[in-house]
Every structure is written in C-alpha cells, then in structure tokens.
Symmetry: C2
Subunit: 234 residues, 2 copies
Amino acid sequence: MLRACAKHLRALGAVRQPLLCEPRPALRSFSSKKVVYKDFSIPNPSWRRDIRLLFDEFMKKCEDGSWKCLPPGKCGSIQRTQDFKTFCLDPELRKEDLRTQTRVFTSSFEEGLGFEYVMFYNDVEKRTVCLFQGGPYLKGMPGFLHGGAIATMIDTTLGMSAVIAGGTVMTANLNINFKRPIPLCSVVVINSQLDKVEGRKVFVSGNVQSADEKTLYSEATSLFIKLDPDKSLT
Amino acid sequence: MLRACAKHLRALGAVRQPLLCEPRPALRSFSSKKVVYKDFSIPNPSWRRDIRLLFDEFMKKCEDGSWKCLPPGKCGSIQRTQDFKTFCLDPELRKEDLRTQTRVFTSSFEEGLGFEYVMFYNDVEKRTVCLFQGGPYLKGMPGFLHGGAIATMIDTTLGMSAVIAGGTVMTANLNINFKRPIPLCSVVVINSQLDKVEGRKVFVSGNVQSADEKTLYSEATSLFIKLDPDKSLT
C-alpha cells in the first residue's frame, strides 16, 4: 500500500513541478552538520489510531486511481525549487550558515511533537484532503491547538489545491472562521476545494472537521496568486 | 531597563489575569523530565541588531509610563490558567505524560530557531506592538517566512489586544491579506489596534511592517469572543 502511494505520486503528472520535494531532515541537532533523511510520508509510531485508520481508508481509495497520495514535508503551498539566494536581498540573511540551518515550518519539529500529516488529492473533484494530527508542541490554550497552528495547516492544505491548479503560487488572502477549539493531539481532516481560477488568481475554500466528521472546527476561504518564477518577490 | 519592564508589567493591573504566565521551558529534550526555566522576555544572543534597537526604543517609551512591556512565551491570545484536564474530554489526551510534554506553540522552538518576540502595550491608544524575528525553522518558500508562521504571530499579537480588553478570549475570525513575503530571519513590527467591543465580541485590526516601517507586509482584521471560564469549550 505504501509502495502504491509512491507509484501514484510519480503518476501524478499534473503536480510534478510543485512536488519536486526533498525529504525533510530528521531528528538532527541545530549545531550538527550531519543530516539523516527519512521518509515522513508514511505512518510513524507517533500516529494515533484515528489517523492510521483514515490513512488506510484513503490508500484504499487510491487503488482505483481516483485519489492520489501526496507527500508532506517540504511540499508546502508556496514551495519553490529556486535557491534561497535568488530571493533574499539582505546579504546577512544569505549567509551559508543560515541557508543550511533552515527547515520548512511544518517539518521543523521532531516526530510526533508538531505537525504530523499526509495529503490526498482527487483530480476529478479538484479536492485535497489532509489528515492532520497536531502534536503537544502546538498548544494554544491548555488542552487545545494554537489558532496559528490551525491556520498553518489550512494554508498548507488549501495551498496544495492552488499549487496543483496554478503551479507556483503565493497566499494573498486567508480568511478563517474558528468555530470550535481543536483538542491537542487529536486527529482532524482538512478538506480543500478548488473554487475557481481567474487569470493569476486561484480561489480555494475548505474546512476542518473531526475524524468522524461529526464536528466542524473551522471554515476558510483563500486567494492565491500565481507567480512568475523569473521575477523577484521582494 | 529590564527591571523597569518587569515593574511596568506588575503595574499593568488591567492585564493581570491574562498575564499569569510561567516562563517557558528552555532547551530540554523531549524525553527528559528535567526542565530548566529561563526568562525569554529579555533579549538573547539570537536577536539581530534591528530587534535590539527597537527593543531599546520601546523600553525608553516605557519610562514615562505611556507604554508597558509585556512578557512573551505563554501569554498567547487565548491562554487560560485552568488545568488541561478541565477541557480535554478524550481520556487518551488527558494522560499525565502528554500533559507534561506540552509546549505553547510560539515558545516551542529552541532559542533563535523559531518565534523570537516581545510585546509592548499602550493603554491610552489601546495599541499593542510586537517586535518579531522569525527564525530559520519557520521557512515557507526558500528565503521567506511561512504564511502560517505570520498568521500565528498576527493571531498572538491581535489576541493580546483582545485579552487586555476582554479578559479570557478565543479567536473567532482571522482575515489576513498577505501583501509581500517576509524574508526569513528578518525583524518586523506587528501593530495591533483595538477597534471596538460589542458585548462578548472584541474587534481588533493590525498590520505587519518592516523594522524601518517602509514596507507593509500584511494587513489583518480579527474577531475574538469573550469566554465564560466556567463553561467547557468542547
């Protein structure tokens, strides 16, 4: 089943360019030069029962080709393959040390502590689903996820829909209604739907539900702008 | 000057309840039981020149009492002092291990890697200012902060204005226009303004600017709802 995930990913021609991902570095110390790469797109021991069951369910949906498994990690909504130096005009921020020390935000915690997630995509429905388990380092008020952590995963999931539709994009607007707080370390499903594409504008909406779909935690709309890779962003 | 910050904080009666903060644990490993507490509300070696200069500038403004220095760390927009068990209904999520392993999201990175910030408050203007340096673990596209990290700090800063005005609150809506990407590890100023309070609703708006105020990075509006501490959130 896991091999099928990788196979489907390779077959997903429509998202090949935005999904030129490297695996994220695992469990390294800040000062260490040695980076051990690990595949974070498969279940790990920190995953709770709910997310494992949902993962298996979606992997079954992948068998007939209607859904594709997308890799997490560096495949953020606004990921670009160009080098750091291309964009960063401040010489101090272009130092080699800093470049090698960066981590993609959603991949920056050790296993089980932060953002544990996997995404699936349905090309016919133009729908992306993210299975997300927010770890104990994402706390807002006691017992619940921080609103910023929820916003991060909404941006990442809705952004994936925009990337698939528009190539390289950047978030221009994110509007979130937080309806209920999400218990820390629980598993939620983030649903993302491509609404329309108008020129360089890509409109995507979505919501966050409990694993059993009985609780609606958040709703969101977003606007992404397609970028010209040849132009500087600053 | 740093002692003055603490003194002004104690004098800030209006925000005493929401600011019952503990210092965040520093540089501990996940498995270790030993937690060394450190004061993160003062400059540390990771702070760049820009944030140190702004910090000194605002500390001077504190001398006549017009501005107050607020502690970072656990003082998030939706921080509550009640125990984890009060809210978390899932028995598995109430285990002692998990409770002791949690960290407030904005305090969950080691020094210099994630969210470095300090806030100041002006009671007459009903304005909160956050000086923020986003570390290398908050990367979105190469060289820039992740939109979710920006949303996190906007939520935290605007939430602080809401906490001061309304006591215990929770984010109900967050609407952000991202106008320009923010270079990774740069210093920005997040301005937050209390707009109005209508019953349980607290409206706050704000923006994110460069340290020299020449670049407008983001604009945001938000709605917070005052909570009844005696009622469960789930």
